[in-house]
Structure formats: structure tokens, C-alpha cells
Amino acid sequence: MSAVAQTVSRSKAGGRPQGLRLLLNNRLAAAGLVVLALMIAAALAAPLLPLADPNATAPADRLLRPLSEGHLLGTDALGRDILSRLVWGARVSLAVGISATVIAAFVGSLIGLVAGYAGGRTDNLLMRGIDMVMAFPYILLALAIVAVLGPGLLNALYAIAVINVPFFARNIRGITLGLSRREFVDAARLSGKSHLKILTTEILPNVLPVIVITMSTTIGWMILETAGLSFLGLGAQPPQADLGSMLGEGRKILFNAPHVSIIPGVAIFLLVMSINLVGDGIRDVLDPRLRSGALTRPVARTAIELDDEEGPSSRTSGGNLLDVAGLRTEFRIGPTVHEAVGGVDLHLAGAECLGIVGESGSGKSVTAMSIMGLVPTPPGRITGGAITLKDEDLLAASDERIRQLRGGAVSHVFQDPLATLHPLFTVGDQIAEAITAHQPASRSQAWKKAEELLRLVRISNPAQRLDAYPHELSGGMRQRVSIAMALANDADVLIADEPTTALDVTVQAQVLALMNKLRREKNASILFITHDFGVVSAICDRVAVMYAGKIVETGRTSEILAAPAHPYTRKLIDCVPVLGEPERRLDAIEGLPPPVSDLPQGCAFAPRCPIAQPECRAQAVELAPLGKERAARCLYPLTHTTGVSADG
């Protein structure tokens, strides 16, 4: 998951000109923009256009139908030209709507910024005031204000602005509150900036896009509301007309001359619709979540699009519990393809624990999540390789079969136990659900089994804990619950994705000890993902080291720790401080891993490798066996004689 998030966040660069192009790429938004531009142009140019006087009455020509001579859209009950009134009315409606939006946005954003940044009493006071305004149903407050100020266009404008202030204030306050807790605000304070300066130069630039989004999505509303007040006779007063009052006047003669009310109604609809289309377009462009595809829904199972020439099953060796061969998984984000996993071979025997070690972005989690199709699609997809579990081809299995295997034969434990347990269901409910999904058990049977499972993972008072919600438990206890859930159906393979990374060190030690003990008791096989060689050494029989989407070295844990063959493994071990060896110099790896969207042709580690030769960069390096159960992806593997450099 983290790897995905990272690649996504890295690829979201972008500037203004791209924004407009994106907006125009959205066909609906572009159409809205054209309609809106035409309407605004007409409204602006109203005094210049060859229109009849909108207020000139002509009793002789009353209620002419549209397309009459001289009156393209007909006339109203007083014989006034509807087209002319429409253009002039749109002018009024737009002016009022836009002014109300600007006023509401300015006042509301100001309140929100101050409340969110100041916090404490100021925040409390301002927001209670806003709550007071929100305690009135939306339009009712506008009515009350108009009742106080008296009917009239300007008063309607104030009323509409006032009732929309809370909307901006709440929105902007939320964002500001989040931003002012960010570390860069503290950093600015320590750089000597005053509060006012921080608010205007640090926070405002980050809030501005939100204000623009909120404005673009509310301006349509404001125009509707103004029209509504005018429709009720509380806004524009005759003879001045806006679209709403035209509709209101037309309503009285709806049955005889429907066109008098339908035409302004359609005009309001077109105006608001085009504004909303453009507003949505602007939101899509400005909201980074939408742009990066963070709001796309992952489907139940990773998409599989094998483009392998060779037959899928030809490469698995068979005989193992779990076999992964030539697995390739990539993320397609926009035009870039991130090759997160670029041909990984793994095998896991019964009662064995295999560790996959690597840094973030190395593809270790994606590899593990690909096995049961839990890589989110979009943007992920499996593009090559084969995965077999007990001789069953998982990539060819049906979705229903995969569902049966998930939590049944293959179970998972994830990193952050607070995020991975459902916050709204009790622990017992969630474990029992895992049981009933795979076993024909009644609810009470499942509940009993859940209690046993909690006892198995050494949780005291299991019967009471079943009724607890995840947030009521400590981090270590939550992870025990996750482990209990993974053990519910006696899985053959347990995939553990950094299960102890989010835990405190003493809790991590307990959970590791527990997992180690349970796997010996239950003879379970574990695929253990981690970035920490200390953790690997605590639990894994064998280890595979990943770098830039490929396995660079694999072998028995003790052998690799004692004599790493790949320079990366060597460096990875040496760059981590080890407890009890404070004098050892940390051998840092200079540079950064290559982005998986742009991998070099040869060995991916060559640019950072101290012993790289020209051949290393020339062509892809294969994983070469180095004895029993040992292999390294290196043309010049380190000799086995160099032991771990002990304390200096």
C-alpha cells in the first residue's frame, strides 16, 4: 500500500497551463464553459445589443408566443419583450450571484482562517456563532433576514451571502486547522515569522485552492437562491427583473401562457447547470486527490493481464506449498508505468518462514499483495508470471475461488492494526465473521471459537475483549487480534506485511515471540515482509532481499547475515546501526534507488555500487545460484570469506 501511495505522490507534479488543458479535456466541463461564456458575454453586452427596452410595456402585444415577429421569444403579460428581459435579467442574476459568492467567500474564509489558526477560545466563540446561524434551516434564515431588512434585490443579496458564510467558514476552518498542526507551521514560527505572516504566507496559499473550489461549487447555489427569493417576490422589485422574478410573474399565467414562465426557468437551469459543470471541472483539476486517482475505487481483485509469451505454468518448479515465478506487477498512473515488481521468483515450503527484506519502493509489499490479488486496481495490474498454491494456478482461478482461498488457505496480517481493523465493528464480530465466511458455524459457535482464538494469542479476559471496539485496545493488542483473525481457519500460508513496524519496540518483541511460537505450534508457513534485518533474524528461516522490484539475493538467513554476496545486501546490513556496536562506522549507501518507472538497462544497483563494472550496466543481470538455496543477482558477488565486520 505504502509503495503505491509513494509512487502516486511522486508523480503528481503539475502546473497551471496543464490545469486549463485538463479542464478542456473534460468534455462536459468544456461544454459548460462554452455555454457559460456565451451567457456571460450576452449579459455583459446587454447595453450594446440591439434589444428592445426590457421595461417598455405594450398592452397591444401582450402574451405573444415565441417566434412572433419582432419578439423572438414572445412577450409577457404586459407586452414586454421576453428576450430583452431575459438578457437584462440574466445580467442582474449573475451580478447578484457572483457578488453574494464573493462576499460569503471573503467573510466565511476569514472567519475560518482565524478560527482554525487561533484555535482555543477564539475558535470556540467563532464556531459557536456559526453554529447558531446553521441552526436555522437554510432558506428560512434568508427569509428572516429579508423580513427584517424588507424585500429588495440588495437585501436578498445580503441574505444569500449571510446564509452561505457558515459553509465557507466551516470548510476553511477544517482545512486551516489541519494545516496549522502541520510541522511546517512550527518550522515557520522557528524561522521567526509572526502569526499574521504565517497565516498570510504559509497557510493562505495552501487554502486558496479550497476556497476556489468551494466558490465554484456554491456559485450555482447562490444564483438559485437569489432566483428563489425573487420568485417569491422578495428579491428584485418591479419594474426591475431578474430571472427569478420573471419566473414568479409568469407563474400567475402558467396555464394560459406557459412560455412566459418556462423560458426564464430554462434560462436559470442552463446558467446553473453550466456553472456546476465548470465548477466540477475546476474541482477535478484542483483537487489533488482526484487528480492522482486517489478517489478511484479498487476492485475486489487485482486485474490480471498476462502478456507473457511463454506459458504461465511452465516456469513454476512445483512441489512447494507456494510458488511464485516471474511475477510482474505494475502500476499505471497516467502515461507512466511503474514496474513495481519486475519478475520475482519465490517459493515457500511447509512450516517455513520466508522473509522479504527491502526498502520502501522495493516492491516487497506489492509482491506479497499480488499473491491473493490484493493490490488495488486501479492502478495496479499483474502483467506476468505464475503463482501456484498447492499446484493450483492462482492467476487462472476464478474470483469466487480466490475469495474462498483468502482467509481460508491464505491469510494476511497487515501493518497498522488500527487502520486494518474496521472501526465500527467489535473485535468479536470481526473474528467471528472471518470464521463464518469459511466454516459452516452458527453465530454462537463462531463467537466461542473467536474467544478461543483470543486466548491463543495470549489476550487476557478474552470473553470481555470480544465486545471491545478496536479503538479501545492498545496497538499491541490490536495486532494480536489481527493475528487471531488470520489464524481463524488454520491457513496454510500466512502473509504478514510489516506486522510489527507500527508497534513500539517492547511490543514488537512480544508479537514477534508470539508469532514465532504459534508457527512452531501450528506448523504454519509465513511470508514475512519487513525492512529490518533484526526482525528477519528473529523469525525467518530464509530471506529474499529485494531492490527496485527484483530479488537481488536469497538464501538462509544465517548465511546471508554472515556473508552477504550481493553488494546491496552487504551495504544494507552495514548502514544500520546495531545495538551494542556504537563505534562501528555507518557505511551509508550514497544516492537513491532508481524510480521504478525508469529503471536502468543493467543492474539497478550499479549506479550506487562501489564495485560496479561496465558490464553491470550493459545488460540485465540474472539471479545466479551460489550453492544450495543461495542465489545472487550479481556479476561479481562478494566472496564468502568476508564475515560480518565485527566491532572496530
Binding site: L374, P376, H438
Partner: protein, 315 residues
Amino acid sequence: MAAYTLRRLLAAIPVLFGLTLLVFLMMALIPGDPATAILGSYATPDNVARLNAALGLDKPLPQQYLIWLGNLFQGDLGRSYALNRPVLDEVLERFSATLILAGTSLVICSVLGLLAGIVSAVRQFGWTDRIVTFIVLVGISTPSFFLGLLLILLFAVKLRLFPASGMYAVYGGGDLADLLHHLVLPALTLSVVAAGVVARLTRTSMLEVLRQDYIRTARAKGLTELRVIYRHAFKSALVAVIPVIGIQAGFVLGGAVYIETVFQWPGIGAMLVNAISTRDILLVQGGVLVVAASYVLFNLAADLFQSILDPRLRR
């Protein structure tokens, strides 16, 4: 949970008091005085002063407020001079009609909105999603009073399926079937916009929830996709949608003003519009107060329902 409920109920009291203060001040700020409005512009200054004294309007504002509040507690909201009957009687009668209309609309908009939002999220980028999204956009861009007029033209004038106005038939009727018959068009009109807003929000919340780690856990457990979506994801999404349904209650209560005017529904919205034009200030005051108070109580109920779903909110 009981303690939480009690705490929320207690917290609503200051809000209700604030409401009364705001409503009182608003009406006290109205330029001109009610006495002139009651007696007409030809009244002698003497008469105006006497009536002002009788109404207690010569006292300082805080004292006026306390008197007004005391009367309020006794159920006395004053007399509407235009209708010449107690404000409370008129308001309650009208409010029950509005509740029928707004309540029905709220149910329709919640059900439609939630369904459309879920379907749209589950079929993201599919045809269903596109169609729903477009309909929703049209819905929230249409002025409800215009939509009402169109529906009247189509269903009442052209097709003659439903009555164009009123709550009961003028002759005969008066039973539930008659009421429902009259209710269809206004309730539908009123719920369209609100349903659009609910649908949009449900869609976004569902999409957001479906990306959460605990949804991956649910899938990793081997739950069926139906269970993942309708049990695990929907429950979380609902927690986010409930406050918005609360706000929609405000929209339908307020929107009733238009719809009641268009369909001549004898509710409180239509009453308020008339009262504002006739400057029947006490009636406006009473009407605004009752609607706002009921809205506060409804939102309280929404909060409590939300905390039933989400145990983390009960602290």
C-alpha cells in the same frame, strides 16, 4: 451511551436559548414599529404610543426579551393581527402540514440518494455511474420552483394524473388516500435537489471508504463482495452521510417555502411568505422559531443516530 445522550440533550439547551434570542433580536431590529403596522399609517401618535405601551414595547430590550421569553414558556407567542388569531395556533396548524410534506421528502431523498450514491460508487466510471452522475447534476441545477411548475404542467394540466394544488380536495376527500394523491407532486419536487446532494456525498464517501485498509482486510478475510460493500463499506459511509442528511432536513424545511407557494400547500412556508409581505411580525417570529427549533432537534437526533453507528463518537 445514556450518558452521551444526556450530554447531547443538555448541550442543545443553550442552542435553543440562543435561537430565541436571535429570533427576538431580529424582529426587534425591524425598522418601524408593530403598532404603526397594526394601526395603519393614519394612526395618531397618541394611539401608537398607547398600543406600544400595551405591547410592552416601551421597555428596554432585555426586559422585553424576558417578558417575551416568559410568554413563550406559557405557549403565548402573541396574536397575529392580520389573521386575528393566536400565533401559536396558526403556526402549529401550518407546521403539521409542512411536516407531512418535508418529512416525506426527506425519506424519499435519503433513500433515493443513498441508493444512487452506492450504485454510482460501485459502478465507478461505468455507464450507470455516468447516467446517475448526470441526472444528479441536472437535479441540483434545476430550481425546485421551476421543476414544480413543469410537473404541474405535465401531470396536472396535460395528463391530469395528480392535482395541481392544495392538500385535500375541496369537495369530498379528506382521507389518507386523498392526502397522498395531493402529496405526490410537491414531495417529489422537494426531494429531487436534496436527493442529488445526498447521492453525491454517498458516492464520494463510499469511494473514500472503499480505499481504506480495513476494506482490504475484509477482502483478505474472504468475505463476499456484497458483504464487503453493503456491510463493511456502507456502514462507514453512512456515518459520514448522516450529518448531511441532517443538513438536507434544513433544505427540505426551507425549500418547502417555494414548494408550498407553487403547490399552494397550506404549510408554514407559504404562511411565512404571506406574513412577510403583510409585515405580520409576530407571525413571522413564531413561524421562524418553531421551524428552527424543530430543525435543531432533528439534527440532535441525527447526531445520536450517528453515535449509535460509530462508537468512537460516544466519548
